[in-house]
Amino acid sequence: MSPSLLKAGLLAATLTAAFVVGWELHWRGQGFPISYNDDESLWASKRRLVYNTSPAGPVLIGASRIKFDLDQPTWRRLTGRQPVQLALVGTSPRPVLANLANDPRFHGTVVVDVVEGIFFSPTGSRQEKRALDRLKAYPKWSLAQQLSFRLDRALESKLVFLDEDRLTLDAFLNNLALPSRPGVFMMPLFPPKFAFNDFDRQTRISAAFVADTAMQHRMQSVWTRLGSTSGKHGDGGDTLTALIQSVKQSVDRIRARGGRVVFVRCPSDGPFWAAEQRGYPRAQYWDRLLADTHTPGVHFADYPALAGFRCLEWSHLTPADAATFTAALIPVLEQQTGWRIATHPVAARGGPGCPVRTAAPAALLPLNH
């Protein structure tokens, strides 16, 4: 090798190594934890686990709420089984439900998270397309990608800066506070320390976010800018009928193979919850969904053990509340479905913030029944 090329190569290697070390230390110093990229490969690695699911270890599908609110370690501790988390942030679960319904090998249990504004989004919407993209990628998950996934995860488990959502060149450029052109939609910027993912695709609100009301207000303003507090009405009429019928077809297909489905409405709060009630009146959407699909469902507002949680940014539970919510949800699910889920009688709670205690029948009675 020519001396100049060798020297150039050594300089490049030294500068790059110095940058990587400095970069990692910088983000650790900023308080960023390890967070796994919730990408196609991580999703695919969970999708392949759906064939051994049961009421005690179900498949979870939906949008972000069930990723935050259903605490997998708590579920695992109480049921002895690991749920399979397939929920996708900001997406409708209908394509994933249909995918499971069309998979002849699937005969397990599905817990469907219903966030009305997303669940009832029209066919062909952005929320649906994002889920379809994930589903399209799954059958093409090659051996090479699986090997890369394993190596990638080994690195991600050690290096904070490997975070595609927050710490990439593209994320930094998009975070530049440049004014938008008139008429161009700009995705509002989420607080970088809002939430982090673990390898089981559990998403957790960070301790920094819990402690910082300014960050919470910023997140609330994100929801406002995204229109989540506008109370815009969802589709009705034939569109809604066709949509619910498509869900029913999926549910029926799963049931025909011996599988089970339950809908869950996780808590929301403040103006977000108020807007959801205005835009998607319960009788026209949630109640109709359960009735038309002949499927059990658990709405947080119906049970003292599940109602009354405060969501700091109006839409998701803190990790501590998620653990409490999950422990309380299991007996409610058992009661509503008749399924055996917990390994032992489950501790339930009288309400948010209350100490966990043994399941009390009164706490499980629906509020509106």
Binding site: L11, A12, A144, Q145, V184
Partner: protein
């Protein structure tokens, strides 16, 4: 396996170690061959069978062709190879397209015909390795190359992983001789190979995927007309993306091969500084354009059968070149546009040379027929107006027209292409603004950067520039690429040309 993946880093590291162990040359070649099959099989293992089929058939058919003296059996043997190679690619790549058009044709004639659309997965790289094996059989048939005696050498020529899935499309003379004697990368080759690998990954991961793809995907993905600024930004973003993606792959492939001691042909020479379309095709996907020249345009008669036939041959070559890229009419139109621009350029040059000055002696020399196909289109002196208009003006005009052709290349259908073209030229008054300020700055900055780099580099080579650059500056530039690569973090996304 893609170059921009952790699995490739591991694969390549192990292979480099193996290749540098004191093992017999034959063992090293077997290692390379097995590694190449592994490289390919991890996409979809059954498709290795197709690769084996193509390798075995062409190896033995070429041997028989070389032995056979009688014209008819020789032709029959060639037909066997052509049917096998073109049959495979037709079945996997064009089966659905042909069926769709057949159904439409019957429908137009009032015959209702419904056939289940074949649900076939396109074997990755089939268009590339088919051309590699075809070139070998055709060279042997034309007695331009002897048949390779060693099956191992031939199998490695077809399968050698750096070029296997997206080129450069190698010819027997490019690679087979390199397998005949022991080779190991010199220190210079290893160092330069690693530099090229870094540059190729930077182009692919940081520039193409990280900075340009989002704007291109957004503009080409919406079902409504966008504002002229957004339309231009989207097309320029795709223009930069496809160059950085494909030239990035070729640069990686050349770098990886060089690290192992093998030299692959250049595939790109700063195409966005091309002065006209014939120059563009001497600089863009060079190994494809020369393949089309040698195995399609010249056998069709090239420009030896008169002017009208030369135009026709040029159009046929570019139409089939378009179809090679994908089974869709939009690719055919892309090829047709390139053919039309080449014909127009040829016509203008011919007219100008007759009007103002005679052909230079070297342009009319007997060996001029050996010039590249698309180069044939420019077998005339430079446009007389070039000096006055300025080379830069011609470069920008060429680029403008190339960008128009990219619309058909990238758009999902003709409706989308028409919508975008109308928006680009301001014929849709109420197009929607789509891209953010940051997107526009990224596209604008990178477009200017890519054009400036191509303009400055058009008459030189990276190696020459690197040799003139102080080591500390080269090292700093190399480090900047690696740091940006680390910062971009996108890994494992496919290269655009894999789908072809």
């Amino acid at each position: 396996m893609v170059f921009n993946s952790y699995s490739f880093v591991l694969f390549f590291a192990v292979l480099l170690v193996l290749h540098n162990l004191p093992l017999p040359w034959k063992v090293k070649k077997i290692n390379l061959l097995l590694a190449s099959y592994l490289f390919y099989a991890v996409w979809n293992p059954p498709f290795v069978l197709l690769l084996w089929l193509a390798t075995a058939v062409d190896f033995y058919v070429a041997r028989l062709i070389a032995r056979e003296e009688r014209p008819v059996p020789r032709k029959l043997l060639l037909v066997i190879s052509l049917v096998m190679n073109l049959g495979l690619i037709s079945f996997f790549k064009y089966g659905g397209f042909l069926l769709e058009n057949f159904t439409a044709l019957l429908g137009a004639g009032g015959i209702a015909f419904h056939a289940a659309k074949p649900d076939l997965i396109l074997p990755v790289g089939i268009s590339f390795y088919t051309f590699v094996t075809l070139s070998y059989t055709l060279d042997v048939y034309r007695r331009q190359a002897p048949p390779e005696k060693s099956f191992l050498n031939f199998a490695l020529f077809v399968t050698f992983f750096p070029h296997l899935v997206a080129g450069p499309i190698v010819r027997p003379a490019d690679l087979i001789p390199q397998f005949q004697a022991p080779r190991r990368a010199t220190g210079e080759q290893l160092g330069w190979g690693l530099f090229l690998l870094s540059l190729g990954l930077f182009m692919k991961v940081t520039l193409a995927d990280g900075l340009l793809a989002p704007a291109a995907d957004a503009v080409f993905g919406v079902p409504f007309p966008v504002a002229p600024l957004d339309a231009w930004a989207g097309v320029l973003a795709f223009s930069g993306q496809i160059f950085c993606d494909f030239a990035g792959y070729s640069t990686c492939a050349i770098g990886v091969a060089l690290c192992l001691g093998f030299v692959l042909p250049d595939n790109f020479r700063y195409p966005y500084a091309a002065l006209g379309f014939s120059d563009f095709w001497r600089r863009w996907h060079i190994t494809l354009s020369t393949w089309l020249r040698d195995y399609l345009y010249i056998p069709l008669g090239g420009n030896r059968r008169g002017s009208a036939r030369a135009y026709l041959n040029l159009m046929i070559t570019m139409l089939l070149g378009g179809l090679w890229h994908g089974a869709s009419w939009t690719f055919v139109v892309w090829g047709a546009l390139h053919g039309t621009f080449l014909c127009a350029e040829r016509g203008v040059r011919g007219w100008a040379s007759r009007r103002w000055q005679p052909l230079p002696a070297h342009e009319t020399a007997p060996d001029a027929s050996l010039a590249p196909v698309v180069y044939r289109a420019s077998l005339a002196p430079p446009l007389p107006g070039a000096r006055t208009l300025g080379r830069l003006g011609l470069v920008l005009l060429t680029l403008l027209l190339v960008n128009v052709t990219w619309v058909f290349f990238r758009a999902a259908d003709f409706g989308a292409a028409a919508r975008l073209l109308l928006a680009m030229f301001g014929l849709i008054p109420d197009g929607k603004p789509l891209l953010t300020t940051v997107d526009l700055l990224k596209v604008g900055g990178l477009t200017v950067g890519i054009l400036a780099a191509h303009w400055l580099m058009r008459d030189t080579s990276l190696r020459q520039v690197a040799a003139r650059t102080p080591w500390w500056l080269l090292g700093a530039g190399w480090a900047a690429m690696l740091v940006l690569l680390v910062l971009t973090q996108k890994s494992s996304s496919s290269f655009i040309y894999f789908q072809f």
